[in-house]
Symmetry: C2
Amino acid sequence: MPADLLGRLLRGDRAALARAITLIDRRPLEAAAIDAVLAPHTGRAATVGLTGPPGAGKSTLVGSLLKSAVRRNDRVAVLALDPVSALTRGAVLGDRLRMEHTTADERVFVRSMTADNGAGGLALATPFAIRALDAAGWPWVLIETVGVGQTEFEIVEAATTTVVVLNPGAGDEVQAVKAGLLEMADIFVINKADREGTQATRLDLERTVSQLPPAAWRPPIIETVAAEDRGTDDVWAAIAAHRAHLVQTGAMARRQQRLLRLALRGLVSAQLEARIETTLKSAEFARMIDAVQAGSSDLNQAGAALLAGVLSR
Amino acid sequence: MPADLLGRLLRGDRAALARAITLIDRRPLEAAAIDAVLAPHTGRAATVGLTGPPGAGKSTLVGSLLKSAVRRNDRVAVLALDPVSALTRGAVLGDRLRMEHTTADERVFVRSMTADNGAGGLALATPFAIRALDAAGWPWVLIETVGVGQTEFEIVEAATTTVVVLNPGAGDEVQAVKAGLLEMADIFVINKADREGTQATRLDLERTVSQLPPAAWRPPIIETVAAEDRGTDDVWAAIAAHRAHLVQTGAMARRQQRLLRLALRGLVSAQLEARIETTLKSAEFARMIDAVQAGSSDLNQAGAALLAGVLSR
């Protein structure tokens, strides 16, 4: 990444920022190499991860949150994480591009991350993109997930504030939240709250939250109709309150470290994956695979040989 | 995994097979340790991966393919790969369980893989589950993806036959197929082919296929209305023809190696990920993270330290 590009990025040049994120998205391993330039300028942004089942209205909510922020003259950046699928790329990217084109307001910066970089994917590229936005002076970074895979959850969980978006009557979903996602949520949003079942879903969530071990922060439950821009000011209020809570309790620094850990995990994983591929493709290892296929070896033995090859490379 | 369980599995005991796949799904690393028992009994199954955008009707197609196979007295196993999302688990698992319960026929074996094992996920567990089905004597293993993430694609691509399922009028999707998925498809299925736009989608796909470099196998394009069990016999005919083609050209052995490579990649990745986590959580490394956060180090330096820690552990 050219040094003058980073200089312009640090001075707030939008085009330089956009170009830098494109480079990060395409070659995240190179992004790490230039992190030294950005590092001293990071640590100020609050990141807000939004997750929830497909169809919950996350994109609409993000759109409404942007409008709400702009009304208060706040500056907000959005990273929209596309599913890694090339198959659905066309359709999803269409939505994204429309969103990017309709947000010409200079208080808003919207980018999609496609993670088709073949090395590390979104888990590696997203933290570096967040650091670029942070270094460029964006105080709020919203992370919107389209997919619902493990990677998206890891990223959303690494945000300083995690918002779980549900819909009314989502009994199964609330059940799943109880089982797995409850500890992830800092804020619950019941979107499409003009629909039947809102009250039942709220009661269900309240019961679930009340069963949590006592903690300084109890996730609030906010009702929104994002398509009509209703309730999104309240979501921002909850996000700001959670940020203030993190700062006051000294938990913010620990939260921000999650993103650093995610980036480091992604960085080293990508390097090790590259070693695995090289070893797997070696002529020596091809004989090992032949032996497994012939039944004269097995995957456990071959796995041990592959691990040894990776460690010694 | 108890030795007698594997013995019963090899003798065709369904309950033992179900139990073994549960253990594989929960602890895939242990599955590798017992692969030596299964290895001599593998290599006979043909695996058929089905992929396509959400809503294309993959589940319905799989259901119809099962009925078609049973009519011919064929034996077919299905592995349904759930998205890794705990959030959507409830809803999706509901569908799966219904499917499993309605297939009491002994010529059919349906299992979902949840990949919530925390080590290696679906990419690791699925190849071992396929090997268990193979060793238990199932000649066909259908792999149905619910999610559309990178992992699902890797698994479907590691099948001996890959079926890409589309719908009529899916202009964007065909575009995406052209861009990325074309080389993955051994067979195209246009499902819901009673809808408008089928002919245009077929022409679009035919044009795309005709632009492929000359090869011994040209992906056929099959039209189905899976909800009415129309066209699924033709899909099986194409699958059988592709299998025969692979056997005749000697390509089958190479195809089967893809799955072994996937399993080995998953196996060694999981072991290295565990090393990364241990190093990341060490007191020594916590100081490194503090330094990055303070701006006195950066992610590139910390990444190099983490890699060194993993390799020396």
